[in-house]
Subunit: 276 residues, 2 copies
DNA sequence: CCACAAATGGAATAAACATTCTATCTTGAG
DNA sequence: CTCAAGATAGAATGTTTATTCCATTTGTGG
C-alpha cells in the first residue's frame, strides 16, 4: 500500500486496516490492534510511549504509518487527534444512535438495553452496599491460603470459572471444586486448615455448595462466601460473607456485579500475596 | 500565584483564570483568552503553533503556565488533554478524581471501585456501539438453529458457561464445545447445516476457537461471533459478528458488557423461538 | 535445505521541542 | 521627568522526539 494516498479520516483508516488484516506482518498487526483498541492513547502519546504500550519498537510505528501511505507517524497520529476533537464536539453521533434506537426499537435491542440497565443498577448497588472491612478480611484470609478452593454451581459457576482463569494467570494456586468428573468430595478431602475456600451461591441455593462450605468450615478451613441474602445457608458457615443483590431483567439476574466483585477479590488477593 | 499548587483539572484552571482576570498582565491575558476559547487546540498544539495562533511568543506560554503554578507548559497542557479524554464521561476517570479528593480507602476497596467503574464503562460502550440490526440477524440465526454450539476458551469461557446454563433453563438445545474431556472435534463433527454456533474470542485470541469457527463456517454452518476487534480471526469466519471492547482495571478486563450481551442474546433467542 | 526477500530490533541522527536567559521595553509611583 | 520593578521578545540551550539506517532474524519459494 505504500505510496498510495493515506486515509483521510479515522474510519477510512479502520477500513483499510480491516481490509489488510490478512497480509499485515506480525508487528504491524500488533500496532493495528493497539491503534483500534486504544485510539485515545494513540492521539496523545509519543512514539516512545505508544511503542512501549503496544510492545513494539518506535520504528515499527513509523513503518506502520508509512505502510498506510503516511509520511511518518505524525501524519497518522493526526487522524487520531481529529477523531477525538470531532467526537467531543458533535453530539450528532450519539443522537443519531439514540434516535435510531428509540423510534424503532426492536425486541432484541430492548432486551439488550434491559440487561445493560440491570448491569448498571447491580454495579451501583455493589459499590454502595459492600462492607469494606469485610472485603479486607476476605482478602487476608484468601491471601494466606495455600490453595483456594472455589465452590459454585449453576448460575454462579461462571464466576468461579473466571476466578480460576485469573488466579491461574496470577500464579495463585486454586481449584474449582465442581468438575465434570464428579470427584468433588475427593478434591475437598485434600483441603487442610492451611487452605481456604470461596463459595458462591445465589437463590435458589444449590444444596451441594452449601453442604460443602459447611463441611469445610467444620474442618477448620476458612470459607469466604458470596450470596444474595442473609438467610442463605452460606451465611451460617462462612467466616466472612458478602451480600450482593443483582438486578434482573425478564427474570434473569445480571452477573455484572458478581463478576466485578469476583475480579476485585481475585486481584486483591494476588496483590496482597505479591506484597507478602 | 507562582509557587502555589497548580489546578488539578480544567475547571479549576478556568476558575483560577477568572479570579485573576483583573491582575493578569496583557500578554498572559491574551493566552488566557485563547486557552478558554480554543481548548482543543491547546490540547494538541506545540508551544510554537499555539504561540503563533495566540499571537504571543512561545516563552509567554511557559510564563503563563508557571504563573499558575505549573513547572512549565507541558504540565498545563496535560489538563487540556485530560479534559478531552474525560468529555466522554468515563467512570474510571471520575473515580480517579474522587480518589485524589482525599478519602483514604484501603487497597481492596480501591480495586473493587476500579472494577465497578470498568464495568460501568463497558456497559456504556456496549449500549452505544452495538449494531442493532446485526443483533436482530444474530438472534434470527441462532433461533432457527436446531442445536447451538458454544465456542470459547480462557477468559471467554465463563460467558458460554452462563449461556449454556440459561439455554438449559429456557429449553434451547445447546452444547458447550470446549469440554474437559477434550472431544471438541467429535462434538463439532456432529454439527449440521441446520445448526449454528456462537463463538467468543477476545485478544489474545485462542487459536482453537478461531479454527473451530472457521471450520464450521466452511461447512455451511452459520457462526455468530463476539470479539473485541475488527482484526479478530473471528471476524473473517462469522456470518454476523459484534465488536465489544471491555474497559479494564489493573490490566484485567471487565466481563460486565460481554455478560450483558450474552444474556441479551440468550433471552432474545429463546423469546424468538417461543414466538415461532 | 538453501537462498533470497521481507520484516524486525535497536542504535544513530537530525529535527522539533519546551524551557531558560538576557537585553529591551513598558508602566507607574515619587 | 526619573527610576525601579515588572513584563516582554527573541535568541540560546539542552532535552525529547520522530525518523532513518543497518545488522540480524524470520519466513518462503525453489
Amino acid at each position: 500500500m505504500t505510496g498510495q494516498l493515506p486515509p483521510r479520516d479515522f474510519e477510512s483508516l479502520r477500513a483499510a486496516i480491516v481490509e489488510m488484516r490478512a497480509t499485515l506482518p506480525k508487528r504491524l498487526m500488533q500496532v493495528a490492534g493497539y491503534a483500534l483498541e486504544r485510539p485515545d492513547d494513540m492521539a496523545f502519546g509519543t512514539t516512545a510511549s505508544i511503542a512501549q504500550a503496544a510492545q513494539v519498537q518506535p520504528s515499527t510505528l513509523v513503518r506502520f504509518a508509512q505502510h498506510f501511505g503516511f509520511d511518518g507517524f505524525s501524519g497518522l497520529q493526526q487522524l487520531f487527534r481529529e477523531r477525538l476533537r470531532e467526537r467531543n464536539g458533535s453530539y450528532e453521533d450519539r443522537l443519531r444512535h439514540l434516535e435510531s434506537g428509540g423510534t424503532t426499537e426492536t425486541e432484541g435491542v430492548a432486551i439488550l438495553n434491559g440487561f445493560v440497565a440491570a448491569g448498571h443498577d447491580s454495579l451501583d448497588a455493589l459499590a454502595n452496599t459492600i462492607d469494606t472491612a469485610a472485603l479486607e478480611r476476605a482478602i487476608t484470609i484468601l491471601a494466606h491460603a495455600e490453595t483456594i478452593y472455589l465452590i459454585a454451581r449453576r448460575r454462579s459457576f461462571p464466576i468461579v470459572t473466571y476466578m480460576a482463569y485469573a488466579f491461574g494467570k496470577l500464579k495463585v494456586p486454586c481449584r474449582v471444586v465442581s468438575t465434570a468428573i464428579g470427584n468433588d468430595d475427593d478434591l475437598l478431602a485434600q483441603a487442610s486448615a492451611a487452605d481456604a475456600a470461596f463459595a458462591v451461591s445465589f437463590s435458589p441455593y444449590a444444596a451441594e455448595s452449601a453442604a460443602q462450605a459447611q463441611a469445610l468450615s467444620e474442618r477448620g478451613i476458612a470459607v469466604v462466601g458470596l450470596t444474595d441474602s442473609a438467610l442463605s445457608p452460606l451465611a451460617g458457615s462462612a467466616a466472612v460473607w458478602f451480600e450482593l443483590v443483582e438486578a434482573d431483567h425478564a427474570g434473569f439476574r445480571s452477573l455484572s456485579a458478581s463478576m466485578a466483585f469476583a475480579m476485585a477479590l481475585t486481584v486483591g488477593v494476588a496483590e496482597r500475596r505479591r506484597q507478602a
